[in-house]
C-alpha cells in the first residue's frame, strides 16, 4: 500500500466526476428537447484491493449512463397517437364537407329547396305572370347551382385526399428508411458494448411521428433494435425496410400496399386510415345521398310537369322541367330558360289554371325517398354529417386528454428537472473539489516524507 494509491483514487474521482458533470450538462442542455430522455449517471465502487486480510476500496467509477425511459408508456402513446390522429383527421376533413353545405343559413340546400317548391305555390296565385314564372326559374337555378356546388366540392375534397394519401405514404416510406438506418446504428453501438441512448431517443421520436400516420405494431428485440409492422404488414427491422405505394382499384377505392403489390395494409387508425375511410367510404356515401335527393327532385318534378300545359299558343304538354340529372348536376331545361311561358302550370291549358303548379308545390310534402320527404331526407343527411363530425371531435378531445396524461407521465419520468440537475452539478463539483484536495494532501504527504530525510 503506497501513497501512490491515494493519487490513483483521487485521479479516478476527478475523471469520474468530470464525466458525471458532462452527463449532467448534457441533460441541462437538452432540458427543452421534447424527444430527449434524461440520462442518469450510475456511480459504483471500483474493485477493492485485498491485502493482508483487509479490503481496501479503490475509489469510484461510472457504472452506467442510464437512459430513463418507460417503454410501456411509449407503446401506449403510439397507440393513442394513431387513434387521436385518426379521429382528428376525420374531424378536420368532415368539417370541410360540413362547411360546403353552408347550413344552417339562407344559402343552404334546405332553404333553396323550400324556396324552389314555394315558388310553384306563388306561381299558382297568378299562373300567367311572367315575373312569377321567372321566379320559379331563378329558384330552380339556385337550387341546382348549390347542389352541383356541394357535389363538386366533395369531389374536390376527395381529389385532395388522394394527393395527400400519396404524400403520407411517401412520409411513411421515408420514416421507415430512417428507422432502418437507426436500427443498424443502434445495433453497431450496442455490439461495441456502448449504450446508444441518444439514438434510441431519435428513433423514438420518428416512431412517434410514424404512429400518427398509421397503426403500428412495435416489437423490441434483444439487441435494442425494433421490428415494426403497419396495418398487419411487415414494415421494418434491422435488416430490411419495406416501401409502400398507393393504388386505386377498379372500384375507385384507394389501397396502400407493398411495392410489389404483395400485401395490402389493413389500417384501423392513424391519418392514413382516416384518409382512406373518407375517400373510400364516407364521401361516396354522402355523394350518393345527394344524388338520391337530386334524382328525386328531377323525377318527381318532371313527371308532374310533363302532364301540365304550357302558357304558349298553342299550349304544349309533355315538356320536362329539368333536362338532365347526373352526378349532382341538375340541369334546368334550356328552352324553358329561354321562354318561361313553357313552364307548365296549367292542367287543362287555361292560362289561369294552376293545378299543375299546385301539384308540383305539393311534392315538397310528398314522401318521395324511402317514405320520407325530400327536405327530411336532406336534413337527416346534414344531421348524419354533423353527428359524425361531433363524434370525431369528441373522440379527438378525449384521446388528446389521454395523450396529454401520457405525455405528462413521460415528462415526469424522462424529462429533465433543471433543479435536480443543478443539485447534481453542485454535488459532483464538491466531489471533484474534494478529490482535488486529496491530491494536494497526497502531495503534501510525499513532501513531508521527502523532507524528513
Amino acid at each position: 500500500m503506497s501513497i501512490n494509491k491515494l493519487f490513483d483514487i483521487s485521479r479516478r474521482s476527478l475523471l469520474t466526476y468530470q464525466a458525471a458533470l458532462n452527463a449532467t450538462s448534457n441533460n441541462i442542455s437538452n432540458a427543452s428537447n421534447p424527444d430527449y430522455s434524461r440520462q442518469r449517471v450510475i456511480l459504483g465502487a471500483e474493485r477493492p484491493e485485498y491485502t493482508a486480510n483487509l479490503s481496501f476500496g479503490s475509489g469510484v467509477k461510472i457504472e452506467d449512463i442510464r437512459r430513463v425511459r418507460d417503454t410501456i408508456i411509449d407503446t401506449q402513446i403510439w397507440s393513442f397517437n394513431s387513434k387521436e390522429s385518426f379521429a382528428g383527421k376525420q374531424a378536420s376533413t368532415l368539417s370541410k364537407l360540413e362547411a360546403l353545405l353552408s347550413e344552417p343559413s339562407e344559402l343552404g340546400l334546405s332553404n333553396l329547396t323550400a324556396q324552389f317548391f314555394n315558388s310553384w305555390d306563388k306561381l299558382a296565385v297568378d299562373p300567367s305572370s311572367t315575373a312569377l314564372r321567372n321566379n320559379v326559374l331563378n329558384t330552380a337555378q339556385n337550387l341546382s347551382g348549390k347542389l352541383e356546388n356541394v357535389y363538386e366540392g366533395y369531389t374536390q375534397v376527395k381529389d385532395d385526399l388522394k394527393l395527400e394519401t400519396a404524400q403520407t405514404v411517401e412520409s411513411i416510406n421515408s420514416y421507415l428508411q430512417q428507422i432502418h438506418t437507426l436500427n443498424k446504428e443502434i445495433y453497431a453501438v450496442k455490439a461495441g458494448g456502448n449504450t446508444p441512448n441518444d439514438l434510441l431517443d431519435q428513433r423514438g421520436a420518428i416512431i412517434n411521428e410514424l404512429s400518427s400516420l398509421a397503426n403500428l405494431n412495435v416489437t423490441y428485440n434483444q439487441d435494442d433494435t425494433v421490428s415494426i409492422s403497419i396495418g398487419g404488414v411487415y414494415a421494418v427491422d434491422r435488416l430490411h425496410s419495406q416501401t409502400f405505394r398507393v393504388e386505386e382499384d377498379s372500384k375507385g377505392k384507394l389501397n396502400v400496399m407493398t411495392e410489389d403489390g404483395g400485401s395490402k395494409m389493413a389500417l384501423n387508425s392513424g391519418e392514413l386510415s382516416a384518409n382512406l375511410t373518407i375517400y373510400n367510404k364516407v364521401i361516396p356515401e354522402y355523394q350518393q345521398k345527394l344524388n338520391t335527393i337530386g334524382q328525386a327532385i328531377y323525377d318527381s318534378v318532371n313527371s308532374v310537369h310533363a302532364t301540365g300545359q304550357t302558357n304558349t299558343t298553342p299550349t304544349q304538354t309533355g315538356i320536362n322541367f329539368f333536362s338532365s340529372f347526373s352526378n349532382g348536376v341538375l340541369v334546368v331545361n334550356e328552352n324553358i330558360i329561354d321562354d318561361p311561358n313553357l313552364i307548365a302550370a296549367s292542367a287543362n291549358g287555361d292560362d289561369g289554371n294552376n293545378e299543375t303548379a299546385l301539384q308540383i308545390a305539393a311534392l315538397q310534402e310528398a314522401l318521395l325517398i324511402n317514405g320520407d320527404t325530400i327536405s327530411n331526407t336532406y336534413s337527416n343527411f346534414v344531421n348524419q354529417i354533423a353527428n359524425d363530425l361531433q363524434t370525431h371531435n369528441q373522440n379527438t378531445e378525449s384521446y388528446q386528454l389521454v395523450l396529454n396524461q401520457l405525455d405528462m407521465q413521460v415528462a415526469e419520468a424522462s424529462g429533465v428537472s433543471v433543479d435536480e440537475e443543478m443539485v447534481n452539478v453542485l454535488k459532483f463539483q464538491r466531489s471533484y473539489d474534494a478529490a482535488a484536495k486529496l491530491i494536494k494532501v497526497a502531495d503534501e504527504m510525499f513532501e513531508t516524507l521527502l523532507n524528513s530525510f
Partner: protein, 298 residues
C-alpha cells in the same frame, strides 16, 4: 411526483389552450349571436332549425298568397256589387212599368234597361290584374259577349267559365279565391240574366210589358248574386282569419327558432369575462413560476 420543467411547460400549455378554446367558442357565439353556427355545433338543433326554417318559408309563402288573393277577392266583390246595384235598378224600372201612373213611353224604359244591361255586361267582363274575374281559369278572352244575332243575342265566349282559382293557404288547405262565371251567371242559353233582360227590352220596344214571371226571374237572379256576394264575403273572411292564424304561427315558429339558436347574451358575456379572467390568471401565474429555478438562487 417528480416535477420536471417539461411537465410544467406541458401542463401550462395545455391549460392555456383549454382556456383559449373556450374563449374562441364564446367569442363566436357573442359575435354571431347564434349558438348554432355549423351543424356539428348541435346536430339535433340543426335538424330542428332546418325544419323550422322551411316551415317559416312555407308560412311566408302562404301569407304572400293570402295578401295577393285579397285584391282579387275585393275586385270580385266590387264587380258583383255593381251587378247587384244594376239588377236593383232593373227591378225598380220593372215595377215602375207596371205602375199605372207612369205608364207611357215603354221605349224610354227599354233604353234605361239597356243601360243597366250594358253595365252588367261590363261588370261580367271585369278584368283585374290581367285576369277576367268571372272567366274561371281562362283569361284569354272576354268571357261574355253580344253576337248581335238573336236568339240568344248574348253568348259565352269562353268554353268553360267554371274553373276554380285555388290558392294554397296552408300545407293542406287550398282556398278557392274566385267566383266563377258559371256559378254567378249559369249557362248562357237564353234562360240567363243577360238574355232575359234582353228579351224584356225587345218586348218593351214592341209594346209588350214584362210578365210577373219575368219579374220573378230577375228577382231570382238578384237573389243569386246576393248569395254569391256573401260567398265572396266568406272567402274574404276566411282569408283574413287565415292571415291572422299564419301571423300567429309565424311568431310561434320565430320564437322556436330563437330558442333553438339564440345566445343568452348576458350569460355569454359573463362567461366570457370569467374566461378572460382565467386566462389573465394563467398568464400571470405562469410568468411568475415558469422562469424560476434553483439557478436564480445560486
Amino acid at each position: 411526483m417528480r416535477v420536471t420543467d417539461r411537465l410544467l411547460q406541458n401542463s401550462y400549455l395545455y391549460n392555456l389552450n383549454t382556456n383559449k378554446t373556450a374563449m374562441t367558442k364564446t367569442q363566436e357565439q357573442l359575435t354571431t349571436q347564434s349558438k348554432i353556427n355549423r351543424p356539428s355545433d348541435s346536430p339535433l338543433g340543426t335538424n330542428r332549425l332546418l325544419r323550422l326554417n322551411s316551415e317559416m318559408q312555407d308560412i311566408a309563402t302562404y301569407l304572400d298568397n293570402v295578401t295577393n288573393s285579397f285584391a282579387n277577392v275585393d275586385a270580385t266583390i266590387n264587380a258583383m256589387d255593381g251587378i247587384q246595384t244594376q239588377l236593383q235598378s232593373v227591378l225598380v224600372d220593372l215595377t215602375s212599368i207596371n205602375n199605372a201612373t207612369i205608364e207611357g213611353d215603354l221605349n224610354s224604359f227599354a233604353d234605361q234597361l239597356q243601360v243597366s244591361l250594358d253595365s252588367i255586361m261590363e261588370f261580367a267582363n271585369t278584368k283585374f290584374n290581367g285576369k277576367y274575374l268571372f272567366g274561371g281559369t281562362d283569361h284569354s278572352q272576354k268571357p261574355y259577349g253580344n253576337n248581335g244575332t238573336p236568339p240568344p243575342e248574348y253568348v259565352q265566349n269562353t268554353t268553360d267559365t267554371s274553373g276554380e282559382q285555388k290558392v294554397k293557404i296552408s300545407s293542406n288547405i287550398s282556398q278557392k279565391t274566385n267566383i266563377t262565371g258559371d256559378e254567378l251567371f249559369g249557362t248562357i242559353d237564353g234562360t240567363d240574366m243577360f238574355n232575359k233582360i234582353d228579351t224584356i227590352i225587345t218586348n218593351l220596344r214592341a209594346g209588350v210589358k214584362p210578365t210577373a214571371t219575368e219579374v220573378k226571374e230577375i228577382e231570382d237572379f238578384s237573389a243569386k248574386v246576393l248569395n254569391k256576394l256573401s260567398a265572396a264575403g266568406n272567402i274574404k273572411n276566411r282569408l283574413t282569419d287565415t292571415e291572422e292564424l299564419l301571423k300567429t304561427q309565424q311568431l310561434n315558429v320565430e320564437e322556436l327558432i330563437s330558442k333553438e339558436k339564440d345566445v343568452d347574451m348576458a350569460r355569454a358575456i359573463v362567461d366570457y369575462e370569467n374566461q378572460q379572467f382565467n386566462l389573465d390568471l394563467t398568464y400571470k401565474v405562469s410568468s411568475m413560476i415558469l422562469p424560476k429555478s434553483l439557478l436564480d438562487y445560486l
